[in-house]
């Protein structure tokens, strides 16, 4: 893979802009100031990302040395096709959820005041993860992300939110320290932190094996792969709606991105045999278990959260088939399509719950004022999650199916299809309830248009990502292969 060192600061700006926006929204928490800050921050970030994407498109991979200091003491930012796609997903979801939040928190001055700085810190942490070029910097950015997201979960107050925030925090800290211990061991053996350089020197010795087990286990706890998923459903269900969307769509993807990055760039020598197979098995159990648990939920947000447990499972089917480029594309596509579709589904579910004043799936029958846009968004996102064409989830699952046939591991195909059927099983009853006419309709609260628009835009994008799959896929073909 070719790589150039750039002096254009586009990658650094992707971290600086959210941090500046966080500071600005803390110092000037008035509505007009917030509008001005986001009117500057989002276009500026989009512009930097576009230029960064152009550089990656032209030269394969881009490295930027912050302050001109090279590794090991300096910090390198690194971007390739994978980082660019994750950054695009992040900015799109963050923008849509920001629009949603500006309506969601209106009238709640105190929460709004704490929400915006934390939200921007979360965005900065996510961008930092996707741009880090060394394993230690990844630890720091992960911690920024975790503290911001735990604070956002607990924002709502109340036992449920505090409890799940605290539990998520403890699991995350455990994961982070386990990861850091692994990094320390790698540094002790090889004296390198840079991901690319580590990949060239690492060998199958015991220290590296222990380090990899510590790193991967720590990250699995943060990604919520079965059986370490126990903290996820309640944390994602009890957070404020836009936060749930970001947590499910983005925050669990960041540690997964690190596993994927290390697996393809560093652990490529098959240092631990059968580790890939084990991750594949855990992923399969997650797909089935998450699906079955989602079927049994009576509350809408819990159902959507358990669906995340199931959809995360698909990501891990890549590891047993790691040699196949189809599996890689399928896995990345799954991360992107789930990101857009699940964010849209959480926002749409939030609208339905706001209209009804209840989050029981049973009560959806009483929905008088139809909320056509949100219902449509929920349906479109569902199409992608079930893996039906033309949703982006279809491309992801199709690539994974293709890979499982090509590599002769047909048993994963059964899991992929079963997971799709389960998704249909838990999503159709919800849609049926929304659409069906009730005997005694209840009074519904009004939902602002902006909140519905945010949901539908993400749902449509998840469809566009499925139809125009050629563009992101070719970014990979030029960048990675």
């Amino acid at each position: 893979m070719q790589e150039i060192i750039t002096t254009a600061p586009w990658g650094a700006l992707m971290v600086v802009i959210p941090l500046a926006a966080a500071a600005a929204s803390y110092l000037f928490p008035w509505r007009s100031a917030l509008m001005a800050a986001s009117a500057i921050a989002f276009p500026a970030a989009f512009y930097s990302l576009a230029l960064l994407a152009r550089d990656v498109w032209v030269s394969g991979a881009v490295r930027y040395r912050i302050g001109g200091w090279g590794s090991p003491l300096g910090i390198d930012l690194f971007a390739d096709g994978l980082s660019i796609l994750m950054l695009f997903m992040t900015i799109v979801v963050v923008m849509a959820a920001s629009i949603y939040s500006s309506f969601y928190f209106s009238g709640d001055v105190e929460r709004k005041r704490s929400f915006w700085p934390l939200w921007m810190f979360l965005w900065a942490g996510l961008n930092g993860v996707f741009l880090s070029g060394d394993v230690f910097n990844l630890y720091v950015t992960l911690e920024v992300m975790v503290i911001a997201s735990v604070a956002l979960i607990s924002l709502k107050g109340g036992r449920e939110a505090l409890l799940s925030g605290m539990r998520y925090f403890l699991v995350s800290v455990l994961g982070s320290l386990s990861y850091l211990m692994g990094v320390a061991m790698l540094y002790g053996s090889y004296g390198i932190l840079d991901i690319g350089a580590l990949g060239r020197t690492i060998g199958p010795d015991p220290a590296a094996q222990i380090a990899i087990v510590l790193i991967v286990t720590g990250l699995l706890a943060k990604t919520a792969l079965f059986p370490l998923h126990f903290w996820l459903p309640k944390a994602h269900a009890s957070a404020p709606v836009p936060v749930s969307a970001a947590l499910s769509a983005l925050v669990v993807k960041a540690p997964f991105y690190i596993i994927l990055r290390l697996w393809t760039d560093v652990f490529s020598h098959d240092i631990i045999s059968h580790a890939g197979l084990m991750l594949g098995v855990l992923g399969s159990v997650a797909i089935i278990w998450g699906g079955v648990m989602a079927l049994r939920q009576t509350r809408l947000k819990m159902l959507v959260a358990y669906s995340t447990v199931s959809q995360i499972g698909y990501l891990f089917l890549f590891f047993p088939m790691a040699g196949s480029s189809d599996a890689f594309l399928g896995c990345v596509y799954q991360a992107l399509s789930h990101g857009l579709a699940k964010a849209s589904m959480f926002l749409a579910a939030g609208n339905l719950i706001k209209a009804l004043g209840s989050d029981l799936i049973e009560d959806l029958r009483g929905l008088r004022q139809r909320l056509n846009i949100s219902t449509f968004a929920f349906g479109l996102a569902g199409i992608s999650l079930m893996g039906l064409p033309p949703g982006a989830g279809f491309i992801a699952k199709w690539q994974l199916l293709k890979a499982s046939i090509e590599t002769g591991q047909w048993w994963w195909a059964i899991i992929i299809v079963a997971g799709g059927l389960l998704a249909a099983g838990y999503l159709f009853p919800v849609l049926r309830n929304i659409i069906s006419q009730s005997q005694d309709p209840v009074e519904c609260a009004k939902v602002p248009f902006g909140m519905e628009a945010a949901a539908i835009v993400l749902a449509v994008l998840s469809l566009v990502l499925g139809i125009a799959a050629a563009v992101p896929l070719s970014l990979f073909r030029t960048a990675l292969l």
């Binding site: 720091v140 911690e143 403890l170 800290v173 850091l180 211990m181 320390a184 540094y187 004296g191």
Partner: protein, 107 residues
């Protein structure tokens, strides 16, 4: 040489003690203390790596430890604030208690 090994083993032991405490202790304050012990173990391990026999220690692990301490201090401060909020709001000091109360409220 022996000094390095003693520090490394000490670091790994602290890490394991902290890990045990984080999983086994019920009280949230003990859990917060435990992850600090875990962190201390990692930092001691990193410092032992920096001693490479020469008179000039490797600066990179030192930089990592300093950064790590900053991160751990902020995480601890945040966890303590969250614990205070939990305790003043609900009177609970363990996750089990809090969960029980939450399900009582549901039922």
């Amino acid at each position: 040489m022996t000094q390095e090994i003693i520090y490394s083993i000490g670091g790994v032991l602290l890490f394991c003690i902290g890990l045990y405490g984080l999983i086994a202790c019920e009280h949230l304050f003990r859990k917060i203390l435990s992850f600090n012990i875990m962190g201390g173990g990692v930092f001691l391990f990193l410092v032992s790596i920096a001693l490479n026999g020469d008179n000039t220690p490797d600066p990179v692990p030192h930089a990592m430890v300093l950064t790590g301490i900053v991160v751990t201090v902020s995480a601890t401060a945040f966890a303590l604030a969250l614990l205070r909020r939990i305790n003043s709001g609900t009177g609970a000091e363990t996750l089990g208690r809090l969960e029980q109360d939450a399900s009582d409220l549901d039922g």
